[in-house]
């Protein structure tokens, strides 16, 4: 193991705020945590890192009192916390923002923030007070969200910010975030980290789980790495680099994280001329065979909408589209599949997989859907689709007949990608292909993308991780308010450049 002391990376005089040592947690025969530890100091942003299944989220939930540890001690201000419950944790100033949304969509933002402890007045709820205090917290977060609107009217990213506002309503001294940024775009992520820096300055101890290496490198002070439930080490970010952290996480040295393929591009595969639909305005673009085109842009910029239009989910209203030089009007997802367009939606649980189906069945869905309505099918179709689609994807499963819900996020994503590869597409559209996916699985997916493009496939990848786009794509299109505002070769692209165009900063100069 590792001989690092928990605080080896930090030169601080302050005492630890919250510590967890020797934590053990088992679920039946599975050992989730074994002698895990984490030490958080006041005024630091501390990243908990590890692949899926490394136990980092479990450790976070134990710190938050959401589940008890089998062994080990947790101390707050040096005093032992025994049998911590979520309510006690909250009362003691430990707040948690979990990965799964905890908001009631039908209630207003203000109600959600104060749910369970709404300000009272003369026997009833004081709505004015609720909304006033909610507005205060939102203002502190620099969010222009009206506390009176229903949460259901907000985008995924905004909802996440409301989750954080809710956690902050109690003025916690320890704030724990479990993949809080996985549904946020660059701008919201920046807002969030700006807020976290302010909280840090005020002395809050912040622990967060993230799969985004850039985020950790940029914002965290220290990082604790877990692997297979065990404590591997804690590093000060100023004294380490991405490579060391990744090799600590996977337990081996990764030669190259990105798998950039240099492929001779072929003929034009997809051409769009002045295509418009809803928020999309006059889109002109070309994707060649053997080319990976990235789509950057804020949430709502139209990058997902563009993929959906090509995939036939929201058919185009004006303009022309050519696939393999033939004019096409794609009116349905089924027709898109029949024309050789594969589409992996953004939200794999909500829009991609049928969670209680087996891996086989999920892998066969797109192929089956493309058949005539009364076509006979059997399990053989699913198995064949699975065999073809997962080739090279390294899906980790004991039995492909198990429900896809039992897999880790990375493996679920692989099954979803396999489903589209099973129709042997010419053009593959990927919306956020590595969101919530661990490092190892990300690497597998990038390797598969490189392999596919070498075989002459064309790909379009929408992502809010700019580094991913730069690392994987040949060319990056930046969307802003439904229009393509920049077309940049990936080798010349820098995150700042992409963010400049994505945020609409070019308009300020023009005005």
């Amino acid at each position: 193991m590792n001989s690092d002391l928990p605080n080896s990376g930090l030169s601080t005089q302050a005492d630890p705020l919250i510590t967890a040592t020797g934590i053990r947690k088992t679920f039946g025969p599975t050992v989730a945590l074994d002698n895990a530890q984490a030490v958080l100091y006041p005024g630091e942003i501390h990243a908990l890192m590890g692949e899926n299944g490394s136990g980092k989220s479990t450790l976070l939930t134990i710190l938050a009192g959401a589940q008890p540890a089998d062994a080990g001690t947790i101390t707050l201000h040096g005093r032992d916390l025994v049998g911590l419950t979520p309510a006690e944790a909250r009362a003691r100033g430990i707040a948690v923002v979990s990965q799964e949304p905890q908001l009631a969509p039908a209630l207003t933002v203000g109600e959600n923030i104060f749910l369970g402890r709404l300000p009272r007045r003369a026997g009833g709820v004081s709505w004015r007070e609720t909304h006033r205090r909610a507005a205060e917290i939102l203002a502190e977060l620099q969010l222009d969200i009206d506390p009176r609107v229903a949460v259901s009217t907000l985008s995924l990213g905004r909802r996440q910010m409301v989750e954080i506002a809710k956690a902050l309503a109690d003025r916690p001294q320890v704030l724990l975030l479990d993949e809080a940024t996985s549904s946020l775009d660059e701008a919201d992520t920046r807002t969030l980290f700006a807020l976290l820096s302010r909280l840090r300055a005020a002395g809050t101890a912040i622990g967060f789980v993230s799969h985004r290496m850039t985020e950790v490198m940029e914002h965290a002070d220290r990082a604790t790495v877990l692997r297979d439930g065990q404590y591997i080490g804690t590093r000060k970010l100023s004294e380490t680099d991405e490579h060391e952290l990744v090799s600590m996480m996977v337990g081996r040295d990764l030669k190259s994280y990105w798998h950039k393929a240099s492929v001779a591009q072929g003929d034009a595969l997809l051409r769009m001329v002045r295509v418009a639909r809803g928020p999309l305005k006059s889109i002109d673009l070309t994707v060649n065979r053997g080319e990976i085109v990235g789509l950057a842009g804020l949430v709502g910029s139209g990058r997902s909408a563009l993929l959906r239009t090509i995939a036939g989910v929201r058919p185009m209203e004006a303009g022309e589209m050519f696939l393999n030089r033939k004019a096409v009007r794609i009116r349905s997802p089924r027709q898109a599949r029949q024309l050789g367009v594969g589409y992996v939606p953004e939200d794999r649980k909500g829009e991609g997989l049928v969670m209680h189906w087996s891996l086989y069945r999920n892998a066969g869905l797109s192929r089956v859907a493309a058949l005539p309505v009364l076509a006979p099918i059997s399990e053989r179709i699913d198995r064949a689709a699975y065999a073809q689609g997962t080739q090279g994807l390294k899906v980790r499963t004991a039995d492909p007949r198990q429900a896809v819900s039992e897999l880790s996020g990375g493996n679920q994503q692989k099954v979803l990608i396999a489903r589209e590869l099973a129709i042997t597409p010419d053009l593959l559209l990927l919306d956020e292909p590595t969101r919530g996916v661990d490092v190892g699985a990300k690497e597998d997916i990038y390797a598969q993308i490189a392999h596919l493009v070498r075989g002459g496939m064309g790909l379009m990848i929408a992502s809010s991780e700019l580094q991913e786009l730069i690392g994987v794509c040949d060319r990056i299109l930046v969307l802003f308010q439904g229009q393509i505002v920049a077309d940049i070769p990936a080798r010349d692209a820098r995150e700042e450049t992409l963010a400049y165009w994505a945020s609409g900063a070019h308009l300020i100069g023009a005005a």
Binding site: R337, E351, M355, W357, A370, V373, P376
Partner: protein
């Protein structure tokens, strides 16, 4: 509510091995076997040929309705209009017969009319109008029963004179009751469609995750129209069988509550209101269980009023058992 079969009905897996089959039907299947053994030992009349045929014959109407409902429930819907549709079908059939239409054409016209009504009104409003299935089929339950009463003036019409109708409801073929043979054939057809066609798979997909199904290329609206059409078609067949057995249309009392007992059977058979799971084999076991239970209550001389209490208790027990096993 995460109901019964969500975690345990392995509609998804291949029931080749005996253990798999056992696991799938273990709950209500085992209960059915136990009930049969118990009744065989305690009621001397239970295992008599006549009694068994009686059970099958009286429950064939419910089973046919349950086949249609299985499609609807798997697609994450519910059709409350099945009973009223059956009553209206009987009235419509009697009207056609008395106005001089031949028996066979009248039978097919009745089934076709029910199918169209279910597909267009139930299916159309739900799939294309965006109405909630509960609201639409609840309204149709009232509306169709009302229509049956208006058309018939509430008066039963005899269909005794028309042999084909009597044959469907009460005839014998190859030594077996026709309605039983018909129910088995419809069950097999439904099973095959669910299991071995692209359409059947899309019903499971729509029920399992509607958005995923749509984005993967399934026309969700058409699937919904189809399942409500199928449910109504089955109600049409039930109408002919029931009218034949009763030798008359019964606008007031025919198939009262049929949709609910059939739905109970479907749920007992492992389907779930969460959608995406269940199968017609399970529904068959569910119908048989409720049928045998009712028969046992009658044989034992217990007032038949107890039947509802027994059905409800069994349904809750089955779902509770399923949840415990899923843990």
């Amino acid at each position: 509510m995460m109901t019964a079969a969500e975690n345990s009905s392995d509609t998804d897996k291949i029931p080749t091995s005996f253990p798999t089959l056992l696991r799938r039907y273990a709950g209500v299947g085992a209960a059915l076997v136990a009930l049969i053994v118990f009744l065989s030992l305690t009621q001397e009349n239970f295992l008599k040929y006549n009694n068994i045929m009686n059970i099958l014959r009286t429950n064939s109407v419910m089973f046919v309705a349950a086949v249609g409902l299985t499609f609807v429930i798997i697609s994450q819907g519910l059709d409350l209009s099945v009973g009223s549709m059956t009553a209206l079908g009987g009235v419509f059939l009697a009207e056609l017969l008395t106005s001089g239409v031949g028996a066979w054409p009248a039978i097919f016209l009745t089934i076709a009319a029910c199918t169209i009504l279910g597909a267009v009104v139930n299916g159309g409003l739900i799939a294309y109008g965006g109405f909630n299935f509960f609201v639409v089929t609840l309204a149709m339950m009232q509306l169709l029963r009302g229509a049956a009463l208006v058309i018939s003036n509430g008066v039963p019409a005899s269909t005794f004179m028309w042999d084909p109708v009597q044959w469907v409801g009460d005839g014998v073929v190859l030594g077996l009751p026709v309605p039983v043979v018909l129910a088995v054939l419809i069950g097999l057809l439904g099973y095959a469609v669910m299991r071995w066609t692209r359409f059947g798979r899309s019903v499971y997909a729509v029920g399992g995750n509607e958005t995923a199904a749509r984005l993967a290329g399934i026309n969700v609206a058409r699937v919904r129209v189809a399942v409500y059409g199928i449910s109504a078609a089955c109600a049409g067949v039930s109408a002919i069988m029931l009218t034949g057995r009763l030798t008359s249309s019964q606008p007031v009392s025919a198939a009262l509550g049929l949709e609910l007992s059939a739905a109970a059977a479907v749920l007992l058979g492992g389907a779930s209101f969460a959608g995406g799971s269940g199968n017609i084999g399970g529904s068959a076991i569910g119908v048989l269980f409720l049928g045998v239970l009712a028969n046992g209550i009658t044989l034992a001389g217990v007032p038949s009023y107890w039947q509802g209490i027994a059905t409800g208790a069994v349904l809750i027990a089955a779902i509770a058992l399923d949840r415990i096993r899923a843990k």
